[in-house]
């Protein structure tokens, strides 16, 4: 009796879960896919839109800035996690709290902050302009805003791993005469690799889709400072559904693919160490 009730309960929970995700996630995804397949002009029009120079330039800009940001984050994020995990200093709690700030701040506000800080009406902006450096309305501004919004990913992924690592191995290496740097590279880094890898991929995915900060900071000039999400926005606003659908589907496919890969990798590793996942 209890077994039957439990199973019925479990089944209904399953149904609720699947229905919820089906409506909230699968349906919108299907709509995007469907709009490419059944839109006016079909797949042909979609491919044609993607082949335009503006679309290709937007994709390229989005991808390379995301790669730069992912790599910088991989390095700076790991270093920051190292400092957080291994060092003690005054103000560490503040540093710890500050790191999560990008999760708290609306992306639009991020863009606005950068314009306020580096705009031509501020000292910094004028100094940069005097040296011929353009931060805003240039790829540098895009990279800066992306660095802001993606900062916590790598840090928060690496930090727990660092705290769990057995410090004995590092001490042993030091006793045997290894320099701190060598110890780091040969003892610590391999242990961090999975965390850094997955977090870097997630950073890349997040950077691909960023809109709110980029639209304020980038300048949005086709083929120069127009990113893929802003391109989609322009296509929606100007009534070019084929272009919007095509670029949307491409972005979704790439990001979804990466997230799925990260998912499988994580679960495989978790299974390897025995955590049920």
């Amino acid at each position: 009796m209890k077994a039957a009730r439990a199973t019925a309960g479990a089944l209904s929970l399953r149904v609720v879960a699947v229905a919820f995700l089906g409506v909230m996630v699968a349906l919108p995804l299907a709509a995007v896919v469907g709009s490419v397949l059944t839109g006016p002009g079909g797949v042909g029009a979609a491919l044609h839109a993607l082949a335009s120079r503006t679309a290709r330039a937007a994709l390229w800009l989005t991808v390379w800035t995301a790669v730069v940001v992912a790599l910088v984050n991989a390095v700076m994020g790991t270093l920051t996690a190292w400092v957080l995990a291994r060092y003690k200093f005054f103000g560490k709690a503040i540093l710890n709290a500050v790191i999560d700030l990008p999760f708290a701040i609306p992306t639009l506000v991020t863009g606005l902050m950068l314009v306020v800080l580096y705009g031509p009406q501020q000292v910094i902006g004028q100094v940069l302009a005097a040296h011929g450096l353009r931060l805003l309305f240039a790829p540098a501004g895009i990279i800066l805003s992306l660095l802001f919004v993606t900062f916590p990913f790598v840090v928060r992924a690496v930090e727990p791993v660092l705290m769990d690592i057995d410090v004995d191995q590092e001490e042993a290496a030091t006793t045997l005469g290894s320099s701190p740097f060598r110890t780091f590279v040969q003892v610590v880094l391999p242990a961090l690799r999975p965390a850094v890898l997955t977090a870097t991929l997630l950073t890349f995915t997040r950077a691909l889709g960023e809109f709110g900060s980029v639209v304020v900071v980038a300048g949005n000039i086709p083929r120069r400072t127009l990113t893929a999400p802003v391109y989609v926005f322009g296509a929606i606003e100007s009534g070019e559904p084929a272009a919007a659908s095509a670029m949307s589907l491409l972005l979704v496919a790439v990001s979804a693919g990466l997230i799925l890969a990260v998912d499988r990798y994580t679960r495989a590793r978790a299974r390897a160490i025995g955590v049920r996942v």
């Binding site: 909230m24 996630v25 995804l29 609306p106 991020t110 606005l112 889709g209 929606i236």
Partner: protein
């Protein structure tokens, strides 16, 4: 060793300072430099009060929906085993993969007049896109994964033993959930709720596409910031920006405190996302 440490520590602090603290400081200064009275006037004027309330209201709705269903999904993912579980697991991460403008676009594809459900919406005289319901759906979507992931983590770690024990002692499934599971997951749950709220308050891209931009009707805090810049009410924009960021920062502080408590209860730290 010491000077090396200092250099490294200094580099990190410097990086964080320039990247994160300087911009936030700039906005705070811009918003508050005219004094608190001007700040509140700018925040509340021109529909700002409504915009703030709408943001909070949408966040509240998303929290309720994503918590109720999120716990169910987390339970199903960790306690159940069935074909297609991996697919369900992947679906939960999708909102992280989709740019906000695409979310808005998908909603128009579904509920716009030429959309999949366009006829149905018209027949019901309902208003989804360019109205609050559409914005609600967008907000629920983008904040969907947080509760599921955080609760899922806790459920995975804590194991099924306690609930099994409760069953053998005669507890009903719901009773076991209420008395055993819920206390176990409460910190993870609250953490997920805080992340959800912060994400909802900050949503911009999706609501920009789906909202009609009507002040006092379909304008959220972020849209208010956007409009204020165009209205040449810079102080209003900065004030609302600071208000939104400030609310979320308070949530962050709450998160930090929760993390400490969780570190006490569960020897695991950090991680806003389930990574490695």
């Amino acid at each position: 060793m010491k000077p090396g440490r200092a250099v490294l520590g200094g580099a990190v602090v410097g990086y964080v300072g320039i990247l994160l603290i300087a911009p936030i400081g700039a906005i705070a200064w811009s918003a508050l430099s005219s004094g608190p009275a001007a700040f509140f006037r700018a925040l509340a004027g021109s529909g700002g009060g409504f915009a703030l309330l709408l943001s909070i209201g949408l966040a509240a709705l998303a929290v309720v929906v994503n918590t109720v269903f999120g716990v169910v999904v987390a339970w199903v993912l960790t306690r159940d085993d069935f074909r297609g579980r991996a697919l369900v697991n992947a679906a939960v991460d999708m909102p992280f993969a989709i740019s906000p403008v695409i979310v808005g676009f998908a909603l128009i594809l579904l509920f716009g007049p030429q959309g999949w459900f366009g006829g149905l919406v018209r027949a019901l005289h309902a208003k989804i896109v360019f109205a609050v319901p559409g914005m609600a759906l967008a907000t629920i979507f983008v904040s969907l994964p947080f509760v599921i992931r955080e609760v899922g983590l806790v459920l995975a770690e804590s194991g099924h033993d306690q609930e099994e024990a409760a069953y053998t002692l005669g507890a009903s499934p719901f009773g076991a959930f209420w008395r055993v599971t819920l206390p176990n997951i409460r910190w993870g749950l609250l953490y997920g709720v805080l992340l959800t709220t912060a994400r909802c308050l900050g949503e911009f891209g999706a609501v920009l596409v789906v909202s009609g931009g009507l002040a006092q009707v379909t304008e959220t805090g972020t849209l208010f910031v956007f409009r204020s810049l165009e209205d040449r009410r810079d102080l209003g924009a900065y004030a609302m920006a600071l208000a939104l960021a400030g609310m979320s920062i308070l949530l962050i502080v709450g998160m930090e405190i929760l993390k400490r408590r969780r570190a006490g209860a569960n020897p695991r730290q950090g991680g806003a996302l389930r990574i490695a």
